[in-house]
Amino acid sequence: MIINMHKKVTILTLILVTAALMQCSSADEAVLRIGTQDVVKSASILGDSNMGVFAHLSNPPLMKMNPDGTLSGQTAKSYSVSDDGKTWRFEIDDNLYWSDGTKLTPEDVKFTFEYIADKYPPAGWIKNTVDEISVDGNAVVFKLKKPYSRLNLEFTTYNILPKHVWETIDKPTEYTNEGPMVGCGPFVINKTDLGAGVIYFKRNPYWKGKEPNIDSIELHMYDNADVLSMALEKGDVDAYYKYAGTYPYTGIKKLEDTGNFDFVEKDNVGLVFLGLNLNKEPMSDLQFREAISYAINYTEILKIDALGYGSVPNRGFVPPSMAHFKETPALEYNPERARELLARAGYRDGNNNGILEDADGNDMKLLLLARSRFQRVGELVKEYLSAVGIGVELKVVDDTTWMKLKDEYQYDLTITRTTPWGMMMHANWGTGYFDSRRTGEGVLHVLSDPEFQKLCDDILAARSDEELKRYAHSVQDYYAENLPGIALYWNKVFTPYNKKWSGWISDPLYGIYNLDNFLNVKRVA
């Protein structure tokens, strides 16, 4: 009886000690928890755009953007381009291993680009641009059909795939894998648990690069911004992340007051702007666009919509956070000047009802199409334009309806946004949003001016950074003179993080979601 009692006590003690040890070891483990509103719909790294971004950590792209906006190699150790701009050579890092132990080879990189060119619609441009991809020693060589200055920039977005896993997958956009996934980054996706709303990353056992300071990463997805803020404050998550977005400005003060949080503060590369349907009158009239630019109270919009966290933009559209930014005149709120310009351009209020008449003598009534997230900005713009005699009907719609209507040019004016990558796509500096030769879900494709299109082509064919800089300035001058779109404010991006962690690195493209950041972040002692 006594022996039995002793046995029970011993077993119980063992259980308690083991539990306590497990508790200690889990407490020692450095787990970084990031809260995000970029909710993944399916565990498909090529089918789900959010999952594609999150996979940059496990399947790092060939190139990366540095905090200062310059580019350097990531999976590629270095790169070079021939004088004629048609041959790009990427030297692959010899020290990378997939998480199943096999070595990453240039063949994997070659396979990735041939594979996505063929099977992944957003990479379809590769077929039209690249003539041949070959392996030369430890390098992958891209021979192009014509010079393409953006190849290194494009390669900051595509995840490198292990050939031995993906070569048997016929439809990559339909392929889902809830983990573990084979990756070559310092962390790999161990499990995508959509029911729990968490993506778990663990260390790649074969990673031979800089040793990370954290053991694992968890991405917690929240549908609701208020709940995510609470989770951050409560300590459920350590930092906030949103691609092309900032932490809600209304919550910044509250987090600051807790004394537990700091912020990575960066100028946004994306922006909110007023788009104009340049195919229609009176938006095709430069004087009318000039008048509109003077009618808008930029300071007020900035104060109301971004709580003052930003600045009044320039006529050159492109924000200072982009490479080769050129200082152009600032946009100015001057309703008197707007009225003068409208009168000079022949827009009159013949019946004195406060609304100008169009060419047919009818009261002008422009359709202002706003995406639902910009309703408040839409209301403000409507008010400003009405104040100078431009009648406006505001129509607020969901994203899909907006895409449909703008593709059918069923609007006069529109309030929309650019994302960081959007600003860099096509010929960079926001050109992708305007060039009528391009199409896409977020772009306006309303600018057919040969001068502008030649500028875009020149950028794409540029062979040196000097040349690029010159064209970049020309594009900004073009925007300033012609106002194909009017930036409404340039804002700042705030990424809060708990002071228990330090060493945060943010780049202009993906913010804190970059490999260098996760290699650098460490728990404060």
Partner: protein, 308 residues
Amino acid sequence: MNLARYVISLFVILSLNFAIPRAMPGDTMTNLLGEDVILDDTLVQEIRREMGLDLPLREQYLMYWKDIMHLNLGYSYHFHSPVLPLVLERMKWTLLISAPPLIVGAVLGTLLGALAGWRESMRSRLQTLIFLIIYSTPPYFLALMSLYIFGFQLGWVPMKGFYTTGSAGNIIHHIILPVVLMSLFSASRNYMIMRGSVIQERQMLYVLYARAKGLYDSQILFRHVFRNAALPIITLVALDFGFIFSGALFIEMVFSMRGMGNLIYSALLYRDYPVLQGSFLVITLMVITANVVADVIYGILDPRVRGR
């Protein structure tokens, strides 16, 4: 006759399920690849062709019926999954948070409502006030406030998801607050209706007659009044049952739960026709079944209906 009515209803509703999503601006392809991707027109047309969106509507409609007959709900290009397993997976979780409130709300609301309607007291007035406040509070606000108090301030419940580890206890811990909230909403509505219904019934002559016969209060209430007063509740509970798989969007949004409400909402935003059709098919079948069941129960409880 009734069977014909149900079959015709089913046909009309399923046809509407095909038509309504397509009446909305845009289609499945519109918002598929992300807003900062540039595509050329040929590629867009190719993807549309792959999805069958280039076919005339008449052909799409015929294919839709053919697929329904073969229980093929199609493939979702947004969720990268065949629709049937996707919907079944979401239904499982939705059932977990919707079924208990349906039962608890029906039992609690009906009983308390009946008692409050039968005899007014200070306690019943207070009870009515509480249920009225719950009934008239927007679900989103109440859910957020509850999460703030019990999740954020007190730390009693997790802030999101159906589970973390997936064990039974862990799941219960995650869903307890949403279930309590939904039970309260359901109970408050049933309470208000039952209370009103009993107040009306107690004025009837048969109640006076029962009392004159010397029956106890509880006998009059539960043997006679309850049976008559519960008829509107049966309709409502049947409707609730019909919509059990439509999810609780606001609750799911606040608690970041991937249930049917969330699925249908996303599918609406992305014009994901196969998911919308699949989800609506399930809801349609459930609503029609619930109607059949309600008709049967009505017949049992009310001889006048049986006689018709």
